[in-house]
């Protein structure tokens, strides 16, 4: 049976991609953020996961408002990043795992979720930046991708509880898969930030620390706020924490925080990176 070895949670600000392209990892502005990936690089080198299931939100590359999904699951054997409007496209393709995608889809539909099934899709910086951060360089990514998009763009957004439940269903699906893949779960986006309106530049360090403190031991604490609470607390893009909440839901066993890095600001964003290890829950 497949095993989930852990979870990686990280901001995905497009500016990070630009910093990577310009080799600014040791620039004083960027270094405190990039340093957060040192333990993740070591952990990935040790764990060598076969597949990454990535909860993220599309920012207007693959989905438009004519057909805006609440949840969408990729079921392709290859994905690509494409120009999102500013002329940058990451070169490395992402290898998919369509068979496992379909297994997840079958499982979550049977669990009363209503996903969009995507046999062909592009993925945006919310997938590409975390992959570039985790596996820097030019080599082909060693880990396959299954992207799961959550609507954080057009309200009504799914509730935090609904996202957490989706994550749980995805976690159970992975663990019931007959292959022997080792899977890592990603949640990307956040933490607090707001790009638009008179409150642009909003940051809420207290709320972010509340999330970081509870993510490993008590993720249900994050469900006490509804989506509009989160918009008010964390900003209209801070609601991307829904991706983290879903990803944390997929870790249904024993969880331990291995690394956590919080650095404000990166661009307009309170940036954060967390690594959790996961193992089957031992019944005492």
């Amino acid at each position: 049976m497949s095993k989930i070895c852990g979870g990686i949670f990280t901001s995905h600000v497009p500016g990070i991609g630009k910093a990577i392209a310009q080799n600014l990892q040791n620039d004083p502005y960027w270094k405190p953020f990039f340093d957060g990936f040192d333990p993740i690089h070591r952990w990935l080198a040790a764990e060598k996961p076969d597949v990454a299931v990535v909860f993220y939100n599309d920012h207007g590359l693959n989905f438009f408002l004519d057909k805006m999904p609440t949840f969408a699951i990729g079921a392709a054997n290859e994905y690509r990043h494409e120009d999102e409007g500013w002329g940058i496209a990451f070169a490395r393709p992402f290898q998919g795992h369509a068979d496992l995608s379909w297994h997840i889809i079958e499982h979550v539909v049977a669990s009363e979720f209503d996903p969009v099934m995507c046999q062909a899709m592009t993925v945006d910086h919310a997938v590409a930046v975390p992959f570039e951060l985790c596996w820097p360089g030019k080599d082909a990514f060693p880990t396959k991708l299954i992207p799961i998009a959550i609507n954080t763009v057009q309200h009504p957004l799914p509730s935090p509880k609904r996202c957490h439940d989706l994550g749980k269903a995805v976690g159970r699906a992975i663990e019931s898969w007959g292959g022997n893949e080792k899977v890592v779960i990603f949640g990307t986006g956040g933490l607090s930030h707001q790009l638009e309106g008179e409150r642009a530049g909003h940051i809420n360090v207290d709320y972010d620390k509340f999330c970081l403190r509870n993510l490993a031991p008590d993720p249900e604490a994050l469900l006490q706020h509804d989506t509009l609470d989160i918009v008010e607390l964390a900003g209209s893009q801070g609601v991307e924490i829904l991706n983290w909440i879903a990803a944390r839901g997929a870790l249904t066993g024993s969880v331990r925080e291995l690394a956590s890095n919080y650095h404000v600001p990166i661009s307009n964003t309170a940036a954060a990176t967390v690594l959790l290890s996961h193992s089957e829950r031992v019944l005492a």
Partner: protein
């Protein structure tokens, strides 16, 4: 128009009302994923806006590079960011424009929240 909506200070929630109002503007911005479309817009802003049936308010806001005006006319920031790119504006420039600050003031306001906190567990897999 939905009633009894929750007000969040300084924040326009992009809901069904906004999405209805902004559809044409957002559709135009979504088209800017393509370089050819960005060039067509740059070559003829008025013609391009007409092709996407922008409302008069939307056109005015675009002409004036008025970000708050675009938002009030239903623009969604994820799509507007693509338009901003054509104008050479990044998200920090947008922040300054919307808050009435200079770029330096906006950056300084962000730095007021400055904090770095790092934890790394003792674990063999993390050894350098």
């Amino acid at each position: 128009m939905a009633q009894g909506k929750r007000a969040i200070p300084g924040t326009l929630v992009f809901d069904g009302d906004a999405a209805q109002a902004g559809y044409a503007l957002n559709a135009m911005c979504y088209s800017f994923n393509s370089l050819a479309n960005r060039q067509a817009f740059a070559a003829d802003e008025e013609g391009y806006m007409e092709r996407f049936h922008l409302t008069p308010e939307q056109k005015d806001a675009v002409r004036q590079r008025n970000v708050l005006g675009m938002l009030a006319a239903g623009g969604n920031v994820y799509y507007l960011a693509k338009l901003a790119g054509i104008f050479g504006l990044n998200v920090q420039d947008l922040g300054a424009l919307q808050t009435g600050m200079s770029l330096e003031e906006f950056k300084a306001a962000l730095l007021e929240h400055s904090v770095t906190e790092t934890r790394v567990a003792q674990d063999g897999r993390l050894a350098a």
